[in-house]
Symmetry: C2
Subunit: 403 residues, 2 copies
């Protein structure tokens, strides 16, 4: 008998029919002899609707009250899913974040899980209940409700799996696994049977969006075996774990990320400490900088170019424009015309040919590379946004030929 944690997102429980579908998956897993803990998000657009209600009354509402408001969303979905499970003849018990033992930090809207006290979950399992837990939420030291921020329900599920030493954490989505490229764009994209945490982290960061990054980091830290699979089709998904068997496939995935802005600072004086001041200030405001490129400029100056996510470009510009050391310098920002395309694969670090193959594919397609960044398991290039889909296709074909 195994312990399985299953997580279903908002679209999987958006209406009565889908809630019943989820109940069938859950009860089938239970009927196979497993203990089951299910984590669910708020139904469909509930969270957005609640945010809208709040804005109408007070656009600057305190984050404590926003969390109080938003946490009601999962409360509705856990109760409905428990009722659906009862309808199928099984015993269920829904638990709110605080009832399920989710102790978090006090940062409303973006709380971190500090500890999951699993006593209540264990008790309900021992009483033969299927346990339905509200994702995305917890309680802080003041006994106030907190939410974990975007993608929090994935993290809730992995946290329970870690605390309970579950045999598997299944994340149900609307795709049936992790693909080597977006299957809607690249017709010979291949579904991966397995992928490492590190590869998944790179893919998640790069916009594959099947799994929230925080949850993958937590899964890696506590060695939780995660499976990404579809709530609509009953087929095996992709397993995310520490090591995967070596396959002939060198590259795990080719991804496109259009949430990118390129910022350039022209003519920076060639004195020490300036890069530290620039990137220290950005980091202090929680702005993640990705690719950084420094080139020799004219007259003993240099040009510094880097990328940030598009959402952060305005704030980044504001910070740079207020930085004493950059006074009078030209700062350019392109937050509309660039995209980042990357290849990811744990095997590539020992294969120097990967970069060459990638660049050749882009050259042959006449696609200009603006910036390059490499890590042990990925190579990213910044290119024109209009070339992005074509770039993904030609790179994918170079590594995973069309059948």
């Amino acid at each position: 008998m195994a312990l399985i944690v299953q997580k279903f997102g908002g679209s999987s429980v958006a209406n009565a029919e889908r809630v019943m579908n989820v109940a069938r998956i859950v009860t089938d897993t239970y009927a196979e002899g497993n203990d089951v803990v299910v984590v669910v998000s708020a139904q469909g657009d509930t969270t957005d609707d609640l945010i809208e209600k709040a804005k109408e009354i007070n656009p600057k509402a305190s984050k404590r009250e926003m969390d109080m408001l938003l946490a009601s969303g999962e409360q509705i979905s856990i109760a409905l899913l428990a009722m659906a499970i009862e309808k199928l003849g099984y015993h269920a018990c829904s638990l709110l974040g605080w009832q399920a033992g989710f102790n978090t930090s006090s940062v409303y809207g973006a709380a971190r899980i500090k500890k999951v006290d699993t006593a209540r979950i264990k008790q309900e399992i021992s009483e033969k209940n299927i346990v339905v837990v509200a994702g995305f939420q917890g309680i802080n030291k003041y006994d106030d409700l907190t939410t974990l921020g975007r993608g929090g329900s994935d993290t809730s599920a992995v946290a329970i799996a870690a605390a309970m030493h579950a045999d598997r954490c299944q994340i149900y989505t609307d795709v049936d696994g992790v693909y080597t490229a977006d299957p809607r764009k690249v017709k010979n994209a291949v579904k991966l049977d397995e992928i490492t945490y590190d590869e998944m982290l790179e893919l998640a960061t790069l916009g594959a969006q099947v799994l929230n990054n925080r949850s993958v980091e937590m899964a890696k830290k506590y060695n939780v075996v995660v499976e990404v699979l579809s709530s609509l089709e009953r087929v095996p998904g992709t397993i995310v774990k520490e090591t995967v068997k070596m396959e002939k496939m060198l590259v795990r995935g080719v991804t496109k990320d259009t949430n990118v802005a390129r910022i350039s600072i022209i003519g920076v004086p060639n004195v020490p400490g300036i890069a530290y001041k620039i990137f220290g200030k950005l980091a202090a405001k929680n702005i993640n900088v990705d690719i950084i490129l420094q080139s020799v400029g004219r007259n003993d100056t240099k040009d510094i170019t880097f990328t940030v996510s598009r959402d952060h470009s305005e704030l980044a510009l504001e910070i740079l424009n207020n930085l004493d050391v950059l006074e009078g310098l030209k700062i350019e920002c392109d937050d509309k015309n660039v995209a980042k395309v990357s290849v990811v694969g744990a095997g590539m670090e020992t294969h120097p040919g990967v970069a060459a193959t990638m660049f050749q594919a882009l050259f042959e397609a006449d696609i200009n590379i603006q910036m390059i960044s490499t890590s042990e398991i990925k190579i990213s290039v910044l290119i024109d946004i209009n070339d992005a889909d074509e770039a993904v296709r030609v790179i994918h074909n170079a590594f995973i030929p069309e059948e």
Copy 2:
């Protein structure tokens, strides 16, 4: 400086505009130098919408999960009201039932308040917060959410007022007080400045519906001064308390209740213990029996007639039809054509003329009386439902003449 508990029902917080209106009433009370605890219900039709969602999935959902579902309604309204109060420049803190210390019995859907642990409310008041509490809900000894049943928010408000020794408990509604009759039906109905708990209890039971009965019982028990007033017009309401100054007005109100069914059992054998068996069985299923009439029948039998609320008539019939001692007897039920009209007034017990005046008024209007019931402070008659509005008018005119 006084401590005021205010309660606003679902229609008072149905949309953003009304929530802001409530926030203005609350902050005005606070600005006058009072400490304020506000109790709110779920917005408008939220509770009904949630019940609908549940029915779609499982019409026989467990009561535990129903309470989990329904409790989300007040969670939304307390957060929104706290945000509205913040918007007006005041500090607010919303608290769920369990955070506000509402410990209840374990009966889901109809929990009784066992204790209000006011530590958290007091702490928030000491920090100069306006405290916004979710009505209708609490927590049981299993740490599970419970709801108090219909009208529970009134009871929540009175319970806080009792536990905190509040100076006043204001129940805001869509009418501006308690009237001698329904002012929409009786044009010379008079608003009462004051009314006793006992009178209010009779009025509440009889369908005046401004205050839930349980809350009046609790107010009486703990001597909480309650004020019924309008959330739309800023005028003084009606004060409910232990004793009121004697006024010339003998009768406090004339009410109509159409939620009545009349059940008759014909030809009951004239042996001891049968009434006990009938009414004992009904009481065991929580069916309240109101007027009871026993008449001599033919051949040493008797006829027993009584009224129950219309919602209970089906269940009552089922119980009676399965009762051994009634086997073969004719059982009739009229749950469509009868109404109960009552006069209420603490003064009437010492004035034997009240009943005579009431019956005369009905006689002169040619209205037939089917059953009569009297208590120390009320007289009720069962009549044809088509005569009910006319009966209220003529009785009201007999005691409170048109100006």
